[in-house]
Symmetry: D3
Subunit: 197 residues, 6 copies
């Protein structure tokens, strides 16, 4: 199959040329190249407008990398579990790779990207993903009992905020990706596939 | 009915005390007080963490207020149409008020907040909301034909990005509000209710 | 926005001229004018046929006004909660106003018309609306356990009948309104909006 | 299997003794006995309150038996198609029998009661049931295009009202039956089962 | 209504002439004729290819007739309950008849074919059908708790396999019937309709 | 994460010891070992009963390997697209690997296993998967127009049967896997991951 040249255009939209990167964002792109070997297409998609690009990066990095009662792996697991509900090709590729990498376990990435209920997760992570998936599917059904279930699983109110914020964020980015047919960098598919010993 | 004292706590979560506002954010809160008479509870909810608060404001204000092929009213209409699908009490209160105000028409706000299909909207706005609602309900079904329908209704690819980004954003904030039981300021209910002549 | 002239035609259907009102129905319309200042458009819609009009009024008035273990406010709350599921513009306008009025509380009307789960209702009314909403969404799932939940919340079997009958009735009228694009009288939007002291 | 003695109690609710029938309703019950050999359980269920019973009969008989652009068989077909969506045991039994009888064709009754799309119906009746089923499943999606499809299939606006009113009515009675576990008279299952020559 | 001549062509597809039956399959068809008076149309549909026909018969007969902790009636009940969810005309006709026959009770067949929740089934069969219906509607939600509910209702792990396998099989055959518009033999509608004494 | 030892028990059910394999099935297992390096867990799961195991293999092999107007890759694509809807961990692992292998393209496997609508497939394969997915999600909505769409895309009636039969089969096996928590062999995750030149 001849793939769409995702390296040439990151979405199905013609959004015009990349805006000129300021020093901070230019450094950010360089760091991506250095660490990943490529600039994630979501950033290239946003790069037609520096204000939007910066706002996206600021929010995403805070959610996924700042201090939190959730581990970075747990936040990636939420990203993937939400993206399974929304069948988001871009986010499953990018964050599936992240789960494989952060878990140090390629099977774990596949499991969460296929059906987390099959993964026999620890009770804490099962409760976390149950909440994130219910919030994705039927936000209007959330009730105090849902928060109580998280508290019983050991999460603080501050952690509940983070679960909600991460799940909310991927419900946003899944939809932006879907609406624009955002194409994941091919490299994601090959990352962190090595068998564990 | 004795209402929950939404002025005392903006959500069902105990997120600790408000962080100290830096000068910029302090000025921002003051401006809200001056223009609206209150600080929107969503900002008070985020105010336990200045980085998160700033990231939220930066993204929201860019989406809703920056230059765009969409009018500010149209962006508020998307916010409300998305919030109807998700039955989001907070966003229907806050952005329903915004539609009433920006449209200069209290009936329009009610219509969009109840069922935009009943509003006999111009073809452009009907196409815009059809796209935003499909993206909300079934993001995995978006196809080129959906983008083509927007182009036929007169939207540029850049406008399509903005429709997707606004619809995506409210799918995020609806879920954060639902997960935390965020309570709208009572003032919203009374804003822009005056009958037009 | 130029609104559709809902005062001129109550639905999108051309149903011919109003039939001649008999003395009873003429008095009924006069009473509406006296009490509300207008004849509700649902009555004007039915008025092409006196038999249908009378059958509708007889059933509606018995359900909403006759003696019952449910208060009149509770019956209006059911009407609104059902109409939220069905996104019925007509019924949300008309019965949202009724909830605001009967509750003596404009915020309560908004809450129920947006998402009753956000309203921190007393257990009795929460159980009542949970039953009505489940009956609306998945009637084929009703089981004895659902009736038992109502009995535990203090309802008699006779009350359960009334909850079912009111929820059923608005599932009917929501659909007649949707199928015919029935337009609420503009006056509803402005009723009972005054802030409580 | 030992069946529930549906002749003894028509629902799972204890609604108290039958009210005293006035002369008109007593004559009505007698006519049922004469024509059908039994009083339909839905009437027995309502008989705890003469006002409710009369309102139900008045509306049902007007919808199903009064002059209309729809044949009586077509109205029964709508009743059944709606009841299939809602999986209503009572109405499928009672109105399935009515379709078999009015069609003079037991296979037709089975077809509509299983999946009308398998029935190779004439375009008029296919359009009618498509409208009734969409109205049942997603009332909030009704648009002018749906009414136009009926007009193209030969229906007048007055007929559209009748389709909506009948479909609406069974969305009500399906739910009252589901909420109360209303039990069909056993006789329905055996009516109009004879093979056509 | 003029029915489609289901005896002439068992589906809406033109699959070419029947393949020559080998001795075993010829004997199998003869046995159908002898026992039922007709060859079920599903077999006639498959008969364009002897390998496919044999594979279908081998699997179906093993599931429905081999030794199992489930009675043959229970397996037919699963077939019908699954087919209700999928609104499968063919399977409701054929297996509805089988339930009527194996139960020796025409009302039971109607009940299961309309809504098994209305049937006041023994706890064992209720649990069995709840599992089969959940598996039909939301297979991705199955968890250990679902299997535990069956074990508590008295089923062995081997029985759980059989429930899953029968429910799975009708999810397959329902879809083949729907995709091809498979038509049930008219005879099914008249089988086992006699009133019990 | 400590994974469940899927090599020790292929499902969550205790189905007793493996039955003695007859010569044919023993040779079949040997061939799996030779070609794949392992016996697929679905076969190990069925191996408690030789008749069931043989019926499953006969049907699966005929559907996926026999002569057909569909290529073997196309049949695997259907298997995966159906399994995405049902979120089936086992089938996504096993048939995702098969698509990667048969397509000679690891990206293609990921695409179909995430969202085939993002894959810019040729019209023929897009039509094929649209049909299979609609048949999976809403079998009761299939109409002649769906078959006509396949014919217009170049499929014969015989091909339509095969599309339906393969889609049906995976709706069965997805459910058996879900009901029993069937665990894919770990090897699947590592197969055919090599980058194309």
């Amino acid at each position: 199959m001849k793939m769409k040249s995702s390296d040439d255009q990151p979405t199905a939209l013609d959004l015009g040329p990349q805006a000129e990167l300021n020093a901070d964002l230019s450094a950010y792109f360089d760091k991506c190249l250095e660490k990943l070997g490529f600039v994630p297409n979501v950033l290239r998609a946003y790069a037609f407008d520096m204000v939007k690009l910066k706002a996206f990066i600021d929010m995403a990095d805070n959610l996924m990398l700042a201090d939190s009662g959730l581990t970075k792996l747990e936040r990636e697991m939420i990203a993937v579990a939400v993206s399974v509900v929304n069948h988001c090709h871009y986010c499953l590729a990018a964050h599936g790779a992240a789960v494989r990498q952060r878990a140090g376990d390629p099977l774990m990435g596949e499991l969460i990207a296929q059906n987390y209920r099959a993964a026999n997760l620890p009770a804490r992570q099962k409760a976390m993903l149950d909440f994130a998936v219910k919030l994705t599917e039927t936000p209007d059904r959330m009730e105090e009992a849902d928060r109580e279930a998280l508290r019983k699983a050991g999460f603080s109110d501050r952690d509940i905020w983070d679960i909600a914020a991460v799940a909310g964020f991927y419900n946003m980015s899944n939809r932006i990706a879907a609406a624009t047919e955002m194409r994941p960098n091919a490299e994601y598919h090959f990352m962190a596939r090595e068998k564990k010993d």
